[in-house]
Amino acid sequence: MPDIGSAELRVLLPVLAPLLGALAVLLTDPYLDKGRPKLPLVYIALGSLMAAWAALGFLWGDRVVAWSGALAADRFGLYLGFAIATAAGLTVLSSAGYARKMGVDCGEYYSLLLLATAGMLLLAMANDLLMVFLGIETMSIAVYCLAGITRERPRSVEAAMKYFLLGAFATGFLLYGIALIYGATGEVRLERIAHHAANRPLLLAGLGFLLVGFGFKVGAVPFHMWAPDAYEGAPAAVTGFMAAGVKAAGFAAFLRVLLTAFGGEAAAAAWAPALWMLAALSMIVGTLSALAQTNLKRMLAWSSVAHTGYALVGVVGGGGVAGNGSAAVLFYVLTYSVMTLGPFLVIALLSRAGEEFEQIDDLAGLARRRPVAAAALSLFLLSLAGIPPTAGFMGKLFVFRAAIDSGWLGLGVIGILATLVSVYYYLRPIVLMYMREPRAEFNASEPTDWASHFAIGVAALALLLLGVLPSDAIAASLESVRGLW
C-alpha cells in the first residue's frame, strides 16, 4: 500500500497545476460575456503554467520516485518538462490574439491545451510503461481535438482526422509492445525490465513494437506520413505546440525507456541499428521533401521530421552512461522545441481573421511592413538551419560530436550533409522577406498584439542565450542523464 505522503503529492505538483488550470478554465468560461475577448481564461492558463514552472523548479534536484514507481521526478524528466511548460506558455500568449482571429476563443481551447500539457508532463516523468501509455494518450487525444478546432476549415478537420486515425493505429502498436514486454518479464516498471536478459524473442518483439509506436509520436521516417498534413491543416498556434511540446514529451519518454529499460549492452545492440536507419531516413527524407514545399507550415513539418532525425543521431550515439549522446539529445530537443515554436508564433501573429498566413511567397517584402516579425522569423530559421551564434548551432554541434566520438561516423556525416542542404530552404524565406517587393497586404491596420510579440521576443531571446551561453543548459543536461541511475 503506497502511503499517500508528501513525496507522492510533491511529484504530482507539476501535473496538478495545468490540470487544475484546465478545470478552472472550464468552470470560468460560462460566466464570461459572449463576444468579448476572453482574457480571464488566458490569465488562468498562464497562471497555472507558471505554477507548473515553479513546481518543476522546486522539484529540481535528487531523484524522487513515487506512486509505486509509476512516476519519477528526476532532472531527466524535469529538464524537458521546462521545455514543455515554456512551449505551452508561449502558445497561450500567442493564442490570446490568434484564437480570436480564428473564432475559437473558447474555454475548450485553453482547457484542451492545458490537459495536453498535463499529459506531456506526465509522459516526461513516467517511470513505468503504463504511465507512458496514459501520458501519450492524454496528450494525443487533447491534441487531436485541438488540430480540428477550426471546424469551418476543411483542411483542419482533415488534419485532425488523419492525425487521429494514424495516431490510434500507432497507439495500438505501442500497447501491443507493452503487452509483449509485460508477457516476457511480468513487469511494467522500467528499471525492473532492465533486470531481465534482453536477448529473448518476446522482449525483443515488444521492443520493436515500442520503437514503431514512439517513432510515430516523434515523427520519424517511415512513421511520419501524418506529419505534413497534420501540421499544415492544424491552426498555426496548435501546430507550434504540436511540433514543440508533443515532440519534446515523446523524446523524453522514448529516451527514458531506451536508457532505463533497454540500456544494457545486449539490448542496445538490438535497437541501435534500427534507430540508425530511422535517423538516417528521417534526415534524408525530411530534408529532401522540405526543399520542394511552397507552404511554410508544410515546409516546417518536413523540417521537423529532419530534426527528429538529428535528435535520433544523439540517441544512437548515446555512448551509454559515460557518453554525452543522451545529454546531447536533451539539449537538442530543448533548443529544437523553442526554435520550431518560433516560426509558428510568427505565422499566428501574421494570420488574418479566419485565414492562415502560410504561403512562402506571401512572405515577400515582409521586412518593410513588419520589420520585427521578419527579424524574428529570420532568427528562428537561421537557428533551425544551425547557423552560429544561435542555439540550433550548439545543439547540432553537441549531437554530431557525441555521435562521431562514439564511433557512428556515417551517421554524423549524413547529418552534416543534410544540414548543408537544409540551409537552402531555410534561407529562401529570408531572401524573400528582405530582397523582394511586398506583394501581399500585411495586416498592419490591426491593433498591435503585444502578447504575441512578447512570446516571440521570449523565444528569440532564449535562442540567442542558449546559443551564446549554452554551458549552463549543457551542464544541466549532463547532470540529468547521470541522475537517471
Binding site: 500500500m1 503506497p2 490540470l19 484546465a22 472550464l26 506512486w67 509505486s68 509509476a70 512516476l71 473564432g103 475559437v104 476563443d105 473558447c106 475548450e108 481551447y109 482547457s111 484542451l112 490537459l115 495536453a116 498535463a118 499529459g119 506526465l122 503504463l130 504511465m131 496514459l134 501520458g135 494518450e137 492524454t138 487525444i141 487533447a142 487531436y144 481535438c145 485541438l146 480540428g148 478546432i149 471546424r151 501491443y176 509483449l180 508477457g183 516476457a184 518479464t185 511480468g186 529473448r200 524473442p201 518476446l202 522482449l203 518483439a205 515488444g206 513494437f209
Partner: protein, 169 residues
C-alpha cells in the same frame, strides 16, 4: 476440457470477427460484434480472469454495443446509401493487411513458445489471481496513479468531443 472450450470459443470469435468486417449492413456487423465479445469473455474466463470477462460482457457487449446500435439506427441508412460493394483490389489489399497484422501477433508468440520464454503456466499464478478483490486492491494501491490518470484522459476526451460537436464555439 479447457482445450475444447478454448477451441470452441476461438472458432466463435474468429467467425464472428470475420462477419463484422464482411457484412454490408452495419446492424449485422454490430450484432456479430456482440457474439465476438461473448467468445472473448469465455477466453478470459479460461485465463482465470473472471472480472475482466464480466467487464467485457457488461461494458463492451452491453454498453458500447448498445451505443453503436443507437447510432446506426439514428443514421437509419437505406440500402442505396450503404454504397456499392468495394472492388476486388480493395478486398485483396484488406486481406493482405489483415494477414500481415495476424503475422505480427502469431510470430512473436510462436517464437516465445519455441524458446520457452515468457507466458508462465497458469499453475504458477498466486491464489486468487484475477479475482475482484485482488484486482481492486491492485487498482487502488500499486496502480492508483494510472487509475486516476485514466479519468484525466477521459476528461480530455469529453471536453474534446463536446467542443467538436458544438454548433457554435
Amino acid at each position: 476440457m479447457d482445450d475444447l472450450i478454448f477451441t470452441a470459443a476461438s472458432i466463435v470469435c474468429f467467425l464472428s470477427a470475420l462477419a463484422v468486417v464482411t457484412r454490408k449492413n452495419p446492424i449485422y456487423s454490430a450484432v456479430s460484434l456482440i457474439l465476438f465479445f461473448g467468445g472473448l469473455a469465455v477466453i478470459f474466463l479460461l485465463l482465470r480472469a473472471p472480472f475482466v470477462a464480466g467487464m467485457q460482457l457488461i461494458v463492451y457487449g452491453g454498453a458500447i454495443l448498445v451505443l453503436f446500435l443507437f447510432v446506426i439506427m439514428l443514421l437509419n441508412l437505406r440500402e442505396e446509401e450503404l454504397g456499392k460493394e468495394k472492388g476486388g483490389r480493395f478486398k485483396a489489399f484488406a486481406a493482405v493487411a489483415a494477414g500481415a497484422l495476424a503475422l505480427l501477433v502469431i510470430v512473436p508468440v510462436m517464437a516465445a513458445e519455441t524458446a520457452r520464454d515468457g507466458f508462465g503456466p497458469l499453475a504458477s499464478l498466486p491464489d486468487g489471481f484475477g479475482s475482484v478483490d485482488h484486482l481492486g486492491l491492485a487498482l487502488f494501491t500499486q496502480f492508483a496513479l494510472p487509475f486516476e490518470v485514466t479519468s484525466v484522459l477521459l476528461l480530455a476526451a469529453i471536453v474534446g468531443s463536446v467542443m467538436l460537436s458544438k454548433k457554435h464555439v
